[in-house]
Symmetry: C2
Amino acid sequence: MRAVRQGRKIDSGSDRAPVGELSRPVLERLAICHQLAVRAGEEGAENMSSAQMANLLNVDETLVRKDMATVGIAGKPRVGYPTGQIIKRLEEVLGLSEYTDAVLIGCGSLGSALLRYPGFSKYGLRIAAAFDADYNKVNQRVGDYTILPMEKCRSVIDTFAVEVAVLAVPAAVAQETADWLVARGIRAIWNFSPIHLRVPADVVVRNENLALGLAELIHHLKRKGAKD
Amino acid sequence: MRAVRQGRKIDSGSDRAPVGELSRPVLERLAICHQLAVRAGEEGAENMSSAQMANLLNVDETLVRKDMATVGIAGKPRVGYPTGQIIKRLEEVLGLSEYTDAVLIGCGSLGSALLRYPGFSKYGLRIAAAFDADYNKVNQRVGDYTILPMEKCRSVIDTFAVEVAVLAVPAAVAQETADWLVARGIRAIWNFSPIHLRVPADVVVRNENLALGLAELIHHLKRKGAKD
DNA sequence: ATCATATCGTGAAAATAATCACGAATGGGA
DNA sequence: TCCCATTCGTGATTATTTTCACGATATGAT
């Protein structure tokens, strides 16, 4: 049996300085470094140099060294940084090493895909239950989950002390759903609706805005095309 | 019947200065401003002030004014910026006003969800066809599409002069699939695999890295929780 | 054992991004 | 009509992020 309580350190003895607030660029690079290290490890590499990582990240190698220093990963001259330590330490820092419980709201096509997405559990997110306001969807099975009616959401949040919600509802009801969740104790929202949510200052929102990604991609494509 | 050729301006007479390279932060804010303006417009607002947008974006209002200036949107003192013009101009700048053709590779749960996602066409991306290497999936219908075998991908790319690919294949084959696509003329990849792709310098990649988003969300949640 | 070289670590400098401060313009009310 | 409050526009300043420059250190070859 496994502890369910999220957000608690499972003191494993190797905790280092808790690392202060990390800025977005740093966090982004660290997450990518984690992936790179995992891949390198799978390919048998014991170490990675800052130059290797920097090359893949398209930044100066100094910056990678600074990032490593920020989270307390030490390298060795002429060798690099040990992949094992990169992976382990970054999983601590990025919060990937402990499970976090979440509820998923909205089981349309995107929500259903997220429910089936194996990556979540790999990255430490455990969907406690999935909900939909549409009674036609309630009781349907999606992957390992049975869709529950919104009425039951409150008790699940309370029972598991869930603080994170994955929001995949239509744009039209995204804001009101977010308000409802916040009122019921949700402290962090991973928002997949194409709406910029307005929440109290003590609630964290990450907008996974596909429109934005698309805009950025197309903008760059056009720029490149124009250039050559 | 509709023109199919993508990437061509449908000269509508209102083209302004083509706007140089926009940095990522600017692009991000503009995309959000677009959404805000759409919502405000739906609620009947003729204008938005920089202060309103800044408040929703959590930045200084000056910055919003600078962004507007960057893309050539003018406001009026005491009134603000006309929502209609914000929407129209930003759709031009962000490339949302003309259709761009794309192929979608990988029709697993995420790929299928993307195929069904109505937001794409709203934001100017037209999926020409969807492909999967798994013959069990070929000929299945997903939304409005029939999954095609990878063998047919090349001819679709050539026929429609497709430059954009949406990549939703498993991590293990993401890199090789990307290489294959690039070799066949794809110039931009919207990557949903949890892998940092390596591509030639003249190819644009946008990594829609869910693990990264999750890491950022959880990191901030922990920070907040520790603070109060 | 010593040297040459690759790579880390870090303070200084440069580049980029965001905010501040304030003048200019506009619409509404006395 | 003229003033006042509001909001835009933008140069100067500050903060943040990235790169540069260079000394320190460990490994492998002679």
